[in-house]
């Protein structure tokens, strides 16, 4: 046997798959454990060898970044091994995600809870940015919650390094409701500010308990944003009318955030508004945000162990399936991931769930085990 194969077998033996907890088109997720210690893990088996372009881009991205990033607020990739032509990612086991918690109407959030989640999200994101990684798909169901209450950023299937000057990036990233206006206007040169916008939307969602900017199409998304925050002027956001996909979508007045977030403190709204500044370069950075007065004001952020948890135990850790092979038919070295299908699919019918958000990318593990 080859050295590589031998080493792989060694790795494989360390982990035990216990039970399939979900299956999608491209990945199967098992609950499992470490053989020697019994520690619970999630094993995500990615089927390889069925794509005409070989290893799937999202699998590659996920493995690439999780192999390097080690932080309390980023999901830990414990090991990688292959079985035949399957790629197995051994991930730390996480109970739930922020989307489920937001949706669980039996839970009540204190302002201190929201502060704690925001601090953990920003810490995880600051670490990604410190490592020059853009996440590009932040949303509540990619923020996983461990049993001790720690929040972990997961799903690096759309992540990428910062670009060198002059290199284009795709603008078809980030789930629509969390996508910043510069991407909706087709900008191919952007920065860490795109992730900050998403965090701003999540922040608002935590307070509202419902998605803040739920657009039904890309065009409607812009309209939704402008209706909430006012149509930007040239002064608010210099040059935005020159962006590739710019279209005027109507003039809406700016309503104060205070009108919608009646109970929020001034600090809270100040931070929120800084995450949702139109001009990306003026948007607050993750590190700066962590030093914002909001976090230092009373109440102190809730201790993670006290944060609201899902009330029922039907949630075995749902991992995202890795799906959506990025379209690589595009020519040339410039990144051209023309609209990963899943984004379309994901938001094609936001209304079909009972008042919920579209679930396309999730595997449903919530069914009760008999």
């Amino acid at each position: 046997m080859d050295a590589v194969e031998r080493a792989n077998t060694e790795r494989q033996k360390r982990w035990v798959k216990d039970q399939k907890v979900g299956e999608g088109t491209y990945a199967v997720v098992y609950r499992g454990r470490e053989f020697a210690t019994g520690r619970k893990v999630a094993i995500k088996k990615i089927k390889v060898g069925q794509f005409k372009d070989g290893l799937d881009m999202s699998a590659i991205r996920e493995v690439k970044y999780l192999r390097e990033l080690h932080h309390q607020n980023v999901i830990e990739l414990l090991d990688v091994f292959s079985s035949k032509t399957n790629l197995n990612l051994v991930l730390e086991f996480l109970d739930s995600d922020l989307e489920k918690i937001i949706k669980d109407r039996t839970l009540v959030f204190l302002p201190a809870d929201i502060k704690a989640w925001m601090a953990m999200t920003f810490r995880g994101l600051e670490f990604c940015h410190r490592n020059f990684v853009l996440h590009r798909d932040l949303k509540p169901n990619n923020l996983l919650i461990a049993s001790d209450g720690q929040l972990k950023i997961a799903d690096f299937g759309l992540a990428r390094d910062f670009t060198d000057p002059g290199h284009k990036m795709t603008c078809q990233v980030i789930t629509r409701w969390y996508r910043p206006p510069e991407l909706l206007f087709g900008s191919r040169y952007y920065s860490t500010a795109v992730d900050i916008w998403s965090v701003g939307c999540i922040f608002a969602e935590l307070m509202l308990r419902t998605p803040y900017l739920p657009g039904e199409t890309d065009m409607d998304q812009l309209k939704t944003i402008f209706r909430a925050l006012g149509t930007p002027t040239e002064e608010d956001w210099p040059g935005h009318t020159k962006l590739p996909d710019y279209v005027p979508v109507g003039q809406f007045p700016r309503t104060p955030l205070r009108d919608l977030f009646t109970a929020a403190t001034t600090d809270t709204l100040n931070l929120l508004s800084k995450c949702l500044i139109y001009e990306p370069r003026k948007r607050i950075g993750a590190k700066e945000a962590l030093h914002h007065a909001y976090f230092f004001a009373l109440p102190y952020p809730s201790h993670p162990s006290k944060l609201p948890k899902l009330s029922n135990n039907t949630s075995s850790r749902p991992l995202d399936e890795v799906d959506g092979n990025v379209d690589m038919n595009a020519s040339g070295p410039g990144v051209k991931a023309s609209a990963p299908n899943r984004l379309k699919r994901k938001l094609s019918s936001p209304g079909d769930e009972l008042g919920g958000r579209p679930l396309a990318r999730r595997l449903d593990f919530t069914q009760k085990r008999s």
Binding site: A3, Q12, K17, R67, E68, S82, S83, M328, A330
Partner: protein
């Protein structure tokens, strides 16, 4: 007095250890953790890999036809290296053709080198491994191109040449795709020179940078990246282009070096070794000498790894047979377990269970 001194020492120690607790980010990288070797270790790994491969192939030959291995001139580790180096030199050519960014080129070269720290040339010929490494690098650096577009632009190459090896290459890399490169470090040094107050623009002409960059590219033919850090390689290459600028910059960073020694002194040996390596080995090998090695390789290739050969087919059949047995066993086990009402059978120990489940996994794709 003595007591006072000792408490001072302890508190100072405590202070420094709490500071020391902060770990440099480079040490989180897989490049630091898993792809950093001493020169001796590097040679050792290659020699052992080569010896093990020769032994296996010799056995295969003998099994096929006793006595047939005696006349075969197997490659030694140095010759394997020579061949790998030749294919390293193909990568910049292809990247130029496809107009891939430098990041792709450097990453593909790293992949190719890393692959042959886990595999031997006699098992896997570097031509297709090189094509696969490059294709994989386009994806890992976010510059994807369709496989069709890729292979149709390379003569005598089909999609399957790349696809068949992709998983093996990724696996050999330990699925560690992120690589830090010297060319970016060099760019950083060049930018940072501008914060030196007394180094005006005319003291750092652009062609110094261009020369240094050429040396960084040359360093990709060497083992430098497996031994030294990207910043050290970049600095050494700058030093070849302009020792003065190199020293000025290094000295400006001395304040942070743990000892009070200037950084240029601390790094003197390291930079010297890299410079020697780049000057000595930083070019493609002589094609004539490689041609001879490649000819011999045709005779000592591992027949089990040559697609379509008798040995290869035998091995595939063997694998199939094993898999079939496993499937049957599993089906029986499940049937039996179901009959007993417990899906795993309560009499199984944990270990057996683990093995059982591992098998389950292999078959259910």
């Amino acid at each position: 007095m003595a007591a006072e001194n000792s408490t001072k020492a302890t508190s100072a120690e405590a202070g420094s250890s709490s500071l020391g607790k902060k770990k440099p980010l480079y040490e989180a990288s897989t490049q630091y953790k898993n792809w950093r070797y001493s020169p001796e270790r590097l040679e050792d790994v290659r020699t052992q890999l080569n010896a093990a491969a020769v032994a296996v192939i010799r056995n295969t030959f003998e099994a096929d036809e006793p006595g047939s291995s005696s006349g075969v001139a197997f490659l030694d580790a140095g010759e394997e290296q020579l061949l790998v180096k030749l294919y390293i030199s193909k990568i910049p050519q292809l990247c130029g053709h496809f107009r891939f960014p430098e990041e792709v080129e450097a990453t593909a070269i790293s992949y190719l080198k890393r692959f042959y720290l886990k595999n031997t040339v006699m098992d896997w010929h570097p031509k297709n491994v090189m094509l696969t490494a490059l294709f994989l690098a386009t994806k890992t650096t976010n510059n994807p191109i369709s496989l069709e577009a890729y292979t149709s632009n390379i003569p005598k190459t089909s999609p399957s040449d790349v696809l068949d090896l992709e998983f093996l290459v990724a696996q050999s890399l330990g699925f560690e795709f992120a690589v830090w490169h010297a060319h970016r470090a060099l760019w950083g040094i060049w930018l940072d020179l501008q914060s030196l107050p007394d180094l005006s623009a005319d003291l750092r002409p652009q062609d110094v940078y261009e020369i240094a960059l050429k040396h960084v590219r040359a360093s990709r033919f060497t083992d430098a990246e497996l031994i030294y850090t990207p910043s050290q390689i970049a600095l050494a290459c700058l030093s070849i282009a302009s020792p003065l600028i190199c020293q000025r910059w290094a000295d400006s960073k001395s304040a942070v070096s743990p000892s009070s020694q200037p950084l240029s002194e601390v790094l003197e040996d390291t930079l010297g070794a890299i410079k020697f390596m780049v000057m000595q080995a930083g070019q493609p090998p002589d094609v004539e000498s490689v041609r001879e090695v490649d000819r011999r390789l045709k005779l000592c290739k591992n027949p089990e790894k040559v697609v379509g050969s008798k040995a290869y087919l035998a091995r595939i059949a063997e694998d199939e047979h094993r898999a079939e047995q496993k499937r049957n066993k599993k089906a029986n086990d499940v049937r039996r377990a179901l009959a007993e009402g417990d899906p795993f059978g309560s009499e199984l120990t944990d270990k057996e269970k683990a093995e059982r489940l591992a098998e389950l996994d292999e078959d259910d794709d």
